[in-house]
């Protein structure tokens, strides 16, 4: 029972600030302080929401974007994690890569859209590439940093046991670097949602990013809001679920909001 209450309490606390934002929103729109074109009133948003639900377009946009986000994120993680391990084990490789990597890290993916189109076409390829570019570096750099901060005394211990690289990675590096890695993955996941807008600027005809861009062009601010709210809450929801799952899976890790 107590457990339950605290759960409820926690949820309430987390929702307090958003609730205040909601209140502010209601005050602003209902009193007409702000041009309804910029912040549409709740009625309008609700209407648009219902009609988008009924005609199935919202669900479609969500599903398509989800696919892109997950594909892009897992692709990025699938490259970043092994690459970080390689860079850790072979400092020479990291010397060779670092110039290009840090160049890319500082370059706006949006500026590279023409090149992405050239390489990956205008299909899913370039959209995924853009998402990968957006979320690769937090995963890579945090993992690498996590690995580099692992206590070298533990590694020495592993050396005396003649652990293979695989065993060393699995039993020492991975659990020790995990908190940093998770932070990286979490940040990366956020950026993959954020990259939707940029990705769906490239020849998309569906997806939440497209929905927002299209609605903006057509001055449908209500739809823009629905798009933003969908992206934000989906991201929030998934973040929450994955954190819960991870807490279960790795109970010894402390922390994170």
């Amino acid at each position: 029972m107590k457990e339950h209450e605290t759960h409820f309490g926690r949820a309430a606390k987390r929702l307090l600030l958003p609730a205040m934002v909601l209140c502010a929103y209601l005050i602003v729109t209902l009193t007409g302080w702000v041009n309804p074109y910029l912040i549409p009133p709740p009625g309008q948003i609700g209407q648009a929401f219902i009609s988008m639900l009924l005609d199935g377009s919202l669900v479609m946009h969500i599903l398509i974007s989800l696919r892109r986000v997950f594909l892009g994120f897992f692709l990025a993680a699938g490259i970043a994690l092994p690459l970080a391990l390689l860079c850790y084990f072979f400092p020479l490789l990291s010397e060779y890569c670092s110039g290009l990597l840090h160049f890319l890290r500082n370059t706006p993916p949006l500026a590279m859209v023409p090149l992405l189109i050239l390489w990956f076409g205008i299909g899913e390829g370039s959209k995924l590439a853009l998402i990968v570019l957006a979320c690769f570096f937090p995963i890579f750099l945090n993992t690498l940093n996590g690995l580099q901060q692992v206590d070298h005394r533990l590694l020495e211990m592993g050396e005396t046991l003649e652990l293979s690289r695989k065993e060393q990675t699995l039993h020492i590096l991975f659990p020790e670097a995990l908190p940093s890695m998770l932070t990286g993955l979490r940040l990366g996941f956020g950026y993959s949602w954020r990259a939707l807008i940029g990705a769906e600027m490239i020849a998309a005809s569906s997806g939440l990013g497209y929905l927002i861009l299209d609605a903006e062009l057509l001055a449908r601010t209500d739809k823009v809001f629905i798009g933003i709210l969908s992206i934000g809450s989906l991201g929030l929801l998934m973040d929450y679920c994955s954190m819960k799952g991870l807490e279960k899976a790795f109970p010894w890790i402390r922390g994170q909001v």
Partner: protein
């Protein structure tokens, strides 16, 4: 502009270079507006906002008073969404600046586009051009595969062979031609793109004299342009970063105006119909409701 409307301190004007908006370029380059407002102590702030939608947003946020160049589509869309943007004058009818372009020499006519991939921005005059052109040849929008993308992306995608045709305008059009693409058709005969000068409704109501002064300055910029064409083209070319020949080309493709005509209003009504048909507008708006009297001579 600021939110305090009682005494005008600053006037916020958007500055849009492309497609080759020479009078506005001259007005800014020569500081004509600043000069005209100097005696009243009003400062002029230029903001470079290219997109019509963003200009409308900025006006709704009271951050922009006058849209130096907007397309009528954006104005109509803003209007239908309850954003009080009003046309205060015409700017140009750049019929030849908008075109459908292809790389594949096998595509020479609208008919060849059937079943092909075309890239371009939806909901703009270019989209309308494609629809009108298809319609004129007895096809519909369903006969082509229109991929939504910005102009630079469309140009890249076409030149790299990812799409068969692109909807392009202005410098991108010239560059595409130089890169080996050819024009299938321009907007001439299908639609009339109309660029206008617009003002935030409240600003127009509270400072009609400022709007009037702005329009005066615009007219004198036009006059100066016509009188000193060579110099004007040079300034325009420099500002756009293109060659003077290209500038001249763009100049001749564009028909600069100061006032709208009844004909323009009629084509705007056609535009509204088109937008309603394509689901861009929920219900028809009367173009006249967003045109101030100043726009007609």
């Amino acid at each position: 502009g600021g939110s305090k409307e009682d005494s005008l301190k600053t006037i916020d004007v958007s500055y849009v270079k492309s497609p080759f908006n020479l009078p506005l370029i001259l007005m800014k380059e020569k500081g004509m507006l600043e000069e005209a407002f100097a005696d009243e102590g009003v400062k002029v702030a230029y903001h470079e906002i290219t997109s019509g939608a963003k200009q409308a947003e900025a006006m709704a946020a009271d951050s922009l008073d006058i849209g130096g160049v907007m397309n009528t589509t954006s104005v109509l869309l803003a209007r239908s969404a309850g954003n009080d943007v009003r046309i205060i004058a015409g700017f140009s009818r750049p019929v030849d600046v908008f075109a459908i372009v292809a790389m594949d020499p096998g595509i020479t006519s609208i008919a060849d586009l059937k079943g092909k991939k075309v890239g371009g921005p939806k909901g703009t005059v270019l989209h309308q051009l494609l629809a009108a052109a298809l319609d004129a040849k007895g096809y519909g929008m369903n006969d082509v595969d229109l991929l939504e993308m910005g102009l630079p992306q469309a140009s890249t995608a076409m030149l790299s062979g990812q799409i068969d045709a692109a909807l392009l305008a202005g410098s991108l059009l010239i560059q595409a031609q130089k890169s080996g693409a050819h024009v299938i058709t321009t907007a001439k005969g299908y639609v009339t793109p109309k660029l206008v000068i617009a003002a935030r409704g409240k600003f127009l109501d509270e400072h009609p004299e400022a709007v009037e002064r702005y329009l005066e300055v615009h007219r004198s910029a036009m006059a100066w342009m016509e009188a000193n064409l060579d110099e004007a083209l040079e300034i325009g070319a420099r500002e756009q970063g293109i060659s003077v020949e290209d500038a001249a080309k763009l100049y001749h493709w564009t028909q600069y105006i100061t006032a709208l005509t009844e004909e323009d209003v009629k084509t705007m009504e056609d535009d509204v119909t088109f937008m309603v048909e394509n689901g861009m507008l929920r219900e028809a708006v009367d173009p006249r409701s967003c045109i101030s009297d100043t726009a007609f001579e």
